[in-house]
Symmetry: C2
Amino acid sequence: MSRGDAPLFGRVTIIGFGLIGSSLARALRRDGVAREIIGCDADAGVRRSATRLKLADRMMSDAGKAVSGADLIVVAVPQSGYAAVGKALAGKLKRGAIVTDVGSIKSAVVRTLGGRLGTDIHLVPGHPIAGTENSGPAAGFADLFAGRWCVLTPPPATKRQAIAKVRQMWLRCGMRVAVMDAEHHDRVLAITSHVPHLIAYTIVNTVSDLESHMQAEVIKFAASGFRDFTRVAASNPVMWRDIFLNNRDAVLEMMGRLYEDIALLQKAIRNGDGATLHRVFTRSRRIRRSIVQAKQD
Amino acid sequence: MSRGDAPLFGRVTIIGFGLIGSSLARALRRDGVAREIIGCDADAGVRRSATRLKLADRMMSDAGKAVSGADLIVVAVPQSGYAAVGKALAGKLKRGAIVTDVGSIKSAVVRTLGGRLGTDIHLVPGHPIAGTENSGPAAGFADLFAGRWCVLTPPPATKRQAIAKVRQMWLRCGMRVAVMDAEHHDRVLAITSHVPHLIAYTIVNTVSDLESHMQAEVIKFAASGFRDFTRVAASNPVMWRDIFLNNRDAVLEMMGRLYEDIALLQKAIRNGDGATLHRVFTRSRRIRRSIVQAKQD
């Protein structure tokens, strides 16, 4: 226990041992947050890698067995796997166990994961807003969460004590924690994260459709704007597929708003309207400064 | 002369002493590329700042006077100022002088800048693809160009020796140098740099139009995608206005291509077509990897 605090949990089971799950295992262990960490992943290669890296006390393949006796279960698989995990856990959880997750979309979690968990189980959906463009247990690291925000979206009837324990866990990982309504979370993330990723994926593909001699030059001269786009576009394809499938309405709404604003700029370019361009660009710069001031850079 | 090479030029005059102009002055001085550096800027604050930082042998306000006796003139003002600079330089240049620039759009340079320069003057338009989100002489630094590409777009009749000298200058600044047709350059940059910036500016403004309570949360939870966008959107508004006004056709063409690709993804989201999303995202990731391999990260 590097930080001198008592463990919050006896046994913690982390289901899904990718970038986020394995980073959480590292942080929990480093900071003595759990007495025992059980890792679970359906992929044998992931289990071997996690075992070699000594990230958990035990690595298991069967989620129903892995959660036996666990005080906290963290679901860290792509969200398309939630229904299967919920089914595997049905009837296998200890009374009073807390279940949380790390998925990017919160409005669907209670339905997909929580339906069959049983009575006297506390579901506290969560979203640690942290990540890199890399995937898999070897890419994880304990400091991934430090200084970032985690949003918890517990349903109204959730016991305060369960929320407090999940909050404590993320605080011990160095995160700042906020609680909000799941639908509101999904709308905020649609514009701050999902739409930017969608554009990044698109622009990278547009480039790859250009004639091949031009594509080589695009890569050669890739200027800063494009490099930032491609960094974003290198993220886990399965995770992002699930995000767009699960947050469809909010993403489409925000895309609609974005289109209206692009149309204005496009018209200004077509008409040679420099005053409008300058006004819009100046305003963007101001917003950027307020983000820097909010220390989210 | 830190690199032990002889100076390439006697007197170099840099017109426009912002981020790029002042960084070039620093690099030329550090590496002994010029015997004398004359700085020129219409803004008294910029001249004071450059003088205080000792970036040039002399700072002047009048471009016509500043170029007197110069072997090389580097035009580093926003491109909306090119016509005025071209006019100010008419009849003031030494015979055999070389004129280059650092503007992001190359197809208009010969027309806006080169029209009146006179006979026996060599115009070698250039674009050092380097920059930061900051502006002004205090933001410059000598290493800004190191390892980046510079594209030269000399008209067909340009003397080889003039091209070679400008190339040598950028090589001494640590750049890699390519020569290509101006129109081709502008199309490549439209998709790698200008369209990404346009989207970034737009998305930041879309956010600022959201209701105020949501905006605060957007800033608070700004996830990686959005932060990258806002970094790009903080660049110099005048420079970007000029880029879009000067590269209108290529930008509008690339926007059209982008729209087609976004429409495909949007339809996939609306229809819950996970297979298409996964295929597109996997492809983007592959392109990102080829950029990393090209060492442009």
